[in-house]
């Protein structure tokens, strides 16, 4: 279970588990976490629990609420986050959810405000489906490559390979795809009777790993692949 640790000058003053739907933080005595510092508002912030998330909300204080040095109005707390409250620090610890892999196990939970029961019915008839972006972790690095077009009308132009795939050739005729992967770029034949050639050699049906400087010939075009 997640917990909060209040400290000042390096010594721990108070700890509590986040076992309530709402945990309040402020200078006033009625708060769950009382922080006795003149820089802290009577009611400074609230931490709301939803599923595995703990969401910190600033209660529109004049001085604002800061997490890891950044002012936030609303913030999904992450393991190790530190709230600066005057001369106090309030640290959020949630080691279990810091392991992303464990989290990916699908589990069942109650929906919010009966949203699940109403889903698709009357709750939000015209609402567009919320776009929830993917969780792609930022730590995976992809290489940066580009192709130089060597022949034809577009000779000399450069195409950055900054997406997951880029196609070469013409649909319905001859088509190949350049795929960006963590360990490099690959060329793969998609359709057409003739396979792409790399440095004069046909690549066949399988994906072929490109090296910087490789010359690609395909569908009457000649290109050079260059890696940064």
């Amino acid at each position: 279970m997640a917990k909060l640790v209040l400290s000042k000058g390096g010594s721990v003053l108070y700890q509590c588990f986040l076992d309530k739907d709402r945990v309040s933080v402020g200078r006033d005595a009625h708060n769950h976490v009382v922080v006795d510092d003149p820089a802290v508002a009577g009611e400074q912030a609230e931490i709301i629990s939803i599923g595995n998330d703990h969401i910190l909300e600033d209660l529109r204080t004049a001085g604002g609420t800061f997490v890891n040095g950044r002012q936030v109005e609303r913030h999904i707390l992450q393991h190790g986050d530190v709230l600066e409250l005057g001369s106090f620090y309030l640290r959020y610890l949630n080691p279990r959810v810091s392991s992303a892999i464990d989290l990916e196990r699908t589990m069942l939970i109650d929906g919010l405000y009966g949203a699940a029961d109403e889903a698709g019915k009357k709750s939000r008839p015209s609402a567009t489906v919320a776009r929830v972006p993917s969780a792609r972790p930022g730590k995976i690095r992809f290489p940066k490559g580009r192709i130089k077009i060597l022949t034809g009308k577009r000779a000399g132009s450069i195409v950055e390979l900054d997406r997951v795939v880029a196609t070469l050739g013409k649909r319905g005729d001859r088509l190949a795809v350049l795929t960006r992967r963590p360990h490099g770029y690959f060329i793969t034949h998609v359709e057409g009777r003739r396979y792409p050639r790399v440095n004069g050699q046909s690549v066949g049906k399988e994906a072929h790993l490109l090296q910087s400087g490789d010359i690609i010939e395909f569908a009457d075009e000649k290109l050079q692949f260059v890696m940064e």
């Binding site: 599923g51 990916e104 699908t106 889903a119 489906v129 795939v165 963590p182």
Partner: protein, 281 residues
């Protein structure tokens, strides 16, 4: 013994659609709890993402796909019968409900299976329309005129949070609630799945997937991959799965891609099916 690591299918038997399907254990997990099934003859397909301890998730998703397929077959056989009241929409709904009952009863009957459940996404193509059914966070998209559109609404806590404005969509990748579903098949005695029908036009591409795809690959990249590789569906399926794995592959990942090749009014579809059944008799 774990089953085969990957399964791949390609089929063009039903001439108005072409499809490719692929399921993969991912880069991290030991077992694949997803199950997929395609029925080219009846133009039906299912993705199921199981949940539950001790590999019960695998059992739940397998029971669900099997029951849905068997049920769909018997309903589809009734479509040509004038006295029958079954529509594709109703067939999808009833088959998901029956699968729910089967998974629920299996969970009740065996202590090891208690609490198991599964998501499902089901599509049935009939008479120029595709009937879609789903529960949980498996998804169905459609690519039309180069634009990918999500046709299903996840039963997920994260979606609730974003829709209710509790967190901004842009902050959703900070959330820990990604894999929390608010509804699933097999948990309760009775369920009402989300069902709807959309037109299926020649050139349309439908994609059914488990959250192992869309959690790790942005919609814009899914769109680009399907659009770029739509002339080679098995390669498109392979690229989708590979991209999810390259991006971390924390979860099992399953995709079914269906391309509509030409119109399929009921009359011709029915004749074709009757003809095949005629041979079998």
């Amino acid at each position: 013994m774990p089953g085969p690591r990957r399964k791949i299918f390609r089929n063009m038997a039903q001439k108005f659609i072409e499809m490719a399907a692929l399921t993969d254990v991912g880069s991290v997990r030991q077992y694949n709890e997803d199950n997929i099934a395609i029925d080219p003859k009846n133009a039906a397909m299912v993705v199921a993402d199981g949940m539950g301890g001790h590999r019960a998730g695998e059992v739940a998703s397998r029971i669900a796909t099997e029951v849905i397929f068997n049920e769909l077959k018997s309903y589809i056989a009734e479509f040509g019968n004038a006295a029958s009241q079954y529509s594709p929409r109703l067939a999808v709904e009833q088959s998901i409900k029956r699968a729910n009952k089967s998974v629920y009863e299996a969970a009740q009957a065996n202590a090891a299976y208690q609490g198991m459940g599964t998501t499902v996404a089901v599509a049935l193509f009939y008479d120029n329309v595709v009937a879609l059914g789903h529960i949980g966070d498996s998804r169905i998209y459609r690519l039309r005129s180069r634009v990918l559109k999500l046709l299903t609404r996840d039963d997920s806590l994260l979606r609730d949070q974003v829709e209710l404005g509790i967190i901004a969509a842009a902050d959703a990748n900070e959330s820990h609630n990604r894999s929390l579903v608010t509804r699933a098949l097999g948990i309760e005695h009775d369920i009402s799945p989300h069902i709807h029908e959309v037109q299926a036009l020649p050139g349309d591409i439908f994609l059914l997937c488990s959250d192992g795809l869309n959690d790790l690959v942005d919609d814009s990249d899914i769109e680009l991959i399907v659009q770029s590789l739509k002339s080679n569906l098995p390669l498109a399926a392979h690229h989708l799965v590979q991209t999810a794995k390259d991006n971390g592959g924390y979860d099992n990942v399953s995709v079914i891609i269906v391309k509509v090749l030409k119109p399929f009014p009921a009359a011709s579809q029915q004749r074709w099916v009757t003809r095949v059944f005629g041979w079998l008799k």
